[in-house]
């Protein structure tokens, strides 16, 4: 697969310091994820649980193939997780615009008749805004949360992708998560 080769090379280049590689990689990953998400959004509603992390995983297999170094895999996942966040947020916004005819928010999330979908979209937008606020005072924690929640990345992968220790990821995630829940409550 030509695509797989390209992605693998981009990952290797990026790892060896070529910052431009990331700029090339991101749109590739983003497009693949969007394509996959669209496909699932079109397809029959399945009885199983659809996971964002599953999409990331599938995108990885499709773009990079299985035979990729572990470190590259972590970096790919980081790119994919951030892309996944954007895709879902874009979707949530579009969705809300459609359903609300111009984005007029109801007084409360759970006003009678407000569909669960709207609430899920709103929740996600609230999460997104909170993550953006966190990024202003502590960008790394915000990033750790994104990689964890949108990419399903393990502590080790996150540590590898961000160049910090696993213990740091542990601490970041614990506080970041508590902070985020606090913001949402």
């Amino acid at each position: 697969m030509a695509a797989a080769r390209a992605v693998t090379e981009l990952l290797e280049n990026w790892r060896s310091g070529d910052k431009g590689a990331l700029d090339e990689l991101t749109p590739l990953v983003y497009e693949e994820l969007r394509r996959l998400a669209r496909r699932y959004m079109r397809s029959e509603r399945a009885g199983h649980t659809l996971q964002a992390t599953g999409l990331v995983n599938e995108a990885f297999i499709r773009l990079a193939g299985m035979d990729v170094q572990w470190a590259d895999r972590a970096h790919f996942y980081a790119v994919a997780a951030r892309s996944m966040r954007r895709i879902l947020i874009d979707h949530a916004k579009a969705w809300r615009r459609d359903k609300r005819g111009g984005g007029v928010r109801p007084a409360t999330l759970h006003e009678a008749g407000v569909a669960g979908q709207l609430a899920a979209a709103d929740d996600l937008l609230a999460i997104d805004e909170a993550l953006a606020r966190l990024a202003e005072i502590d960008p790394r924690k915000s990033d750790v949360l994104v990689l964890h929640f949108f990419g399903g990345m393990t502590y080790d992968e996150t540590a590898e992708a961000l160049g910090v220790s696993t213990a740091t990821v542990h601490r970041d995630l614990r506080l970041g998560r508590a902070w985020l829940l606090n913001e949402l409550a």
């Binding site: 998400a37 496909r39 699932y40 959004m41 079109r42 397809s43 029959e44 509603r45 399945a46 009885g47 199983h48 649980t49 659809l50 996971q51 964002a52 599953g54 999409l55 995983n57 599938e58 297999i61 299985m66 879902l88 979707h91 949530a92 969705w95 409360t108 999330l109 759970h110 669960g116 979908q117 609430a119 899920a120 979209a121 929740d123 996600l124 609230a126 999460i127 005072i137 502590d138 929640f149 949108f150 601490r171 614990r174 506080l175 998560r177 508590a178 902070w179 985020l180 829940l181 606090n182 913001e183 949402l184 409550a185």
Partner: protein, 752 residues
């Protein structure tokens, strides 16, 4: 939660403090923060609230992400897209069926070299992780190797261009077995013969370590010439060396299976073995013989699970006389059944049909449909053989069940599983139903025999979380073996025998196994009466213990009688204010609370408190329990101030005398939270719930059902508070909490 304005410096401080207190207990944390934050109350409160969020462990973020993805997937049925398309060398002609895993199409070889019709099953588009894909491949390989005249062959498989996995199978032009039998007016004899052919196919699969897991009429097609073919191993599983289906996909299967054909162990996420197929074959046979379904499963998951796990099917010979009314049959999708129609389909009369089914066939079906896998036929082959014996008018293995097994024991043992597998929050909360702790005062040591028994008791008491703070699952086996040994070997030492039986009875009680508990305690009491005489104090103690179990099974009259006898006896023997009498009074309080006689309950609880309060430190635990009990009674009587005072006293007693890590803490804290909530002091109730959740996690573990109860309560409370964004997550919050066996050893009521 209003968070303070955070800048980078302040955030660094927050981070430092949070890391410091993350592993502390609520009390330790409060103390630490009080000194570390000094006058900065805002900071202190903020760290506290972060720590609470840390504990709450809800999955709001994960759920929102997943929820949006899922909800964004529209309810489109785009199957028709595939018609006319090529899949591998085949062209899709039309859809011929659909199931949990996918849609089945008739397809023809497209190259026209030789005409061949095949069935192609498109597995529903799903996210495939490499591991699952790998398993799919190996599973396909093994199914392809199943070569039996009554199993539809698997030819090939692959993935379509868009990545959807598919299977190519032998196309069977036939009718579902039930339609076939009715259409051909097959007699009972002919139906049994056909059924045995199916059994041979299933048995063959089992011998190849494949369990089908979804046997039902639509998966068994009978061709024009009368050959039955078993299809759709879609959710079939390979058995491991231990005879259980490999996990992972088992869970998927449990979700996707057809409810009316599900075995109890599938509903309960239990071990899937060949016995699961035996059960499904039992359902099939029941339907072929009677035209009815053995279980009426409702649409609501709770009723469904209970029906499958608890409902004993009506006898085949009785059900055929029944007329399904139109609404039933509409609900189940069946045609209305009348006894006349059923008989005619079987080329017989109702009278003859009933006679034909009575006896052997009734029993055979019941054995296959037993709730406990281990009590069904040992193999499909044995099942089939029993039918052969019946057809040959030889004695069959199947015997009617004794009453003992009809009491829904299975579901009671697995009630936690029911709750979790179908998210039965209501059932989960039902664990909170008041359970009385027995204040057993084992009589003073008097001889050396007592030492032996004490030693043994210690071994047996291990499963009581009050002693061991944890539960070994194999304890039940130890118990059962111990009970046998005691019955067999200690017959010449009745006093020790009775004591040990009493112990086992109590442990069974703590495990929620009330029937064996009562059986053991009855026997213990009987032996004591015989060996020691009616007036002996040990007999009074035995009565007290037995009464506690009887209250649990709502045998209130018997319990009342025993307790009153024991009380009179203890008062005579030990005095009005003896702690022995207090134990009886305590249990009488519980009894009256259970029957709703709250004034009496209050009086009895008050009397027991008065006695224990005189007893000194030795009786601190009993005093705490009695106060907790009275608090619950007062709560029921709506004396909330009184309830709060008593609950706080009980908590203080536990802290002082038993330590913070005692299981009572978890329960009492939650009880206090409930009182506060009822009083309308929501903030205090919330704080108390966080404390109780922390204590439960620490003392009883992540898996204890009390945790589920607390989390539900917290969710409700937050909802009432207006924290609506969290509300939808409260069911999800339950997920990490799977009640283990310890779930049933609740010592006192978590719900008031």
């Amino acid at each position: 939660m209003n968070s303070p304005e955070l800048n980078r410096e302040r955030w660094a401080r927050v981070e430092h403090l949070f890391d410091e207190v993350a592993e502390m207990s609520p009390t330790g944390r409060a103390a630490y923060l009080a000194s570390a934050c000094g006058n900065d109350l805002e900071l202190r409160e903020y760290i506290e609230s972060l720590a609470r969020s840390d504990i709450a462990k809800n999955t709001i973020i994960e759920d929102s992400i997943r929820g949006l993805l899922e909800l964004a997937v529209p309810d489109l049925r785009s199957n028709s897209d595939v018609i006319g398309e090529r899949i591998g060398p085949y062209r899709v002609v039309r859809a011929i069926g659909s199931g949990g895993m996918g849609v089945v199409y008739l397809a023809e070889r497209a190259d026209e070299q030789f005409r061949q019709q095949v069935a192609i099953k498109l597995v529903r588009q799903r996210l495939i992780d490499p591991e699952i894909e790998q398993r799919l491949v190996s599973e396909r390989q093994i199914l392809a190797n199943l070569d039996h005249p009554n199993i539809a062959r698997l030819f090939d498989g692959g993935t379509t261009t868009d990545g959807t996995p598919y299977l190519v199978m032998e196309y069977i032009d036939g009718l579902p077995i039930d339609d076939y039998c009715d259409g051909r007016r097959l007699s009972i004899h002919e139906r049994l013969a056909l059924f045995r052919t199916i059994c041979s196919a299933v048995h063959y699969a089992h011998q190849n370590l494949v369990v089908h897991r979804d046997i039902k009429p639509t998966n068994i097609l009978v061709t024009e010439d009368g050959t039955p073919k078993l299809l759709d191993f879609g959710i079939a599983k390979l058995l491991d060396a231990g005879g259980a289906a490999t996990d992972g996909l088992t869970r998927d299967g449990a979700v996707m299976l057809t409810p009316e054909n599900a075995a109890p162990e599938q509903v309960l996420n239990g071990r899937i073995t060949t016995a699961t197929d035996t059960y499904a074959l039992g359902i099939l046979l029941y339907r072929l013989l009677t035209g009815h379904r053995p279980c009426q499963v409702g649409s609501n998951p709770r009723e469904m699970a209970l029906a499958i796990c608890e409902q004993i099917p009506e006898r085949a010979s009785a059900v055929v006389t029944r007329r399904t009314d139109t609404s039933d049959s509409q609900a189940s999708g069946d045609a209305p059944m009348t006894p006349e129609l059923i008989s005619r389909y079987r080329s017989t009369t109702l009278e003859k049909l009933v006679r034909r089914l009575k006896g052997d066939l009734d029993n055979i079906v019941q054995v296959a449909l037993r709730k406990e896998p281990a009590r069904r036929y040992r193999s499909v082959n044995e099942f089939s053989e029993d039918i052969r014996m019946h057809l040959a008018s030889l004695p069959v293995l199947a015997r009617p069940d004794s009453w003992h097994y009809r009491s829904g024991k299975f579901v009671r043992r697995h009630v936690a599983g029911v709750a979790m597998s179908s998210m039965l929050v209501a059932l989960l909360a039902a664990f909170g139903v008041a359970m009385v702790v027995q204040n057993k005062r084992i009589v003073q040591e008097r001889d050396t025999a007592k030492e032996v028994s004490t030693f043994l008791e210690e071994i047996f008491m291990a499963p009581d979380p009050g002693n061991a703070r944890g539960l070994d699952i194999t304890a039940k086996e130890i118990l059962a073996k111990g009970a046998d040994r005691i019955s067999d070997q200690l017959g010449d030492r009745p006093v020790i025998q009775a004591t040990l039986m009493g112990t086992i009875g109590r442990v069974y009680f703590n495990l929620g196994e009330y029937e064996p508990s009562i059986a053991m305690l009855e026997e213990s009491l009987r032996i004591r009466r015989q060996a020691l005489g009616e007036q002996h104090p040990d007999v009074a103690a035995g009565k007290n213990e037995l009464a506690v179990s009887l209250i649990r099974t709502a045998d209130f009259e018997r319990a009342r009688q025993l307790l009153e006898e024991a009380l009179a006896q203890n008062r005579r023997e030990y005095g009005e204010s003896s702690t022995e009498a207090a134990a009886n009074l305590y249990n009488l309080a519980a009894l009256h609370q259970a029957t709703g006689e709250l004034d009496e309950a209050e009086r009895f609880a008050g009397s027991s408190i008065a006695i224990y309060a005189q007893g000194g430190d030795r009786y601190a635990a009993d005093l705490a329990e009695a106060k907790n009990a009275l608090a619950r009674i007062l709560h029921d009587k709506n004396d909330l101030d009184g309830a709060e005072t008593l609950e706080r006293e009980a908590i203080a007693l536990v802290k002082t005398h038993l330590g913070e890590d005692h299981p009572f803490m978890a329960y009492y804290l939650q009880n206090l939270a409930v009182v506060l909530q009822t009083k309308g002091d929501i903030d205090a109730a919330e704080a108390m719930l966080y404390e109780s959740i922390a204590a439960t996690r620490k003392v009883l573990g992540e898996e204890h059902s009390l945790l589920g109860g607390s989390l539900v309560r917290l969710g409700t409370l937050l909802h009432n508070k207006g924290n609506s964004i969290l509300l939808r997550r409260r069911f999800a919050m339950l997920l990490p909490c799977t009640p283990g066996p310890g779930a049933r050893s609740i010592r006192s009521s978590p719900t008031i």
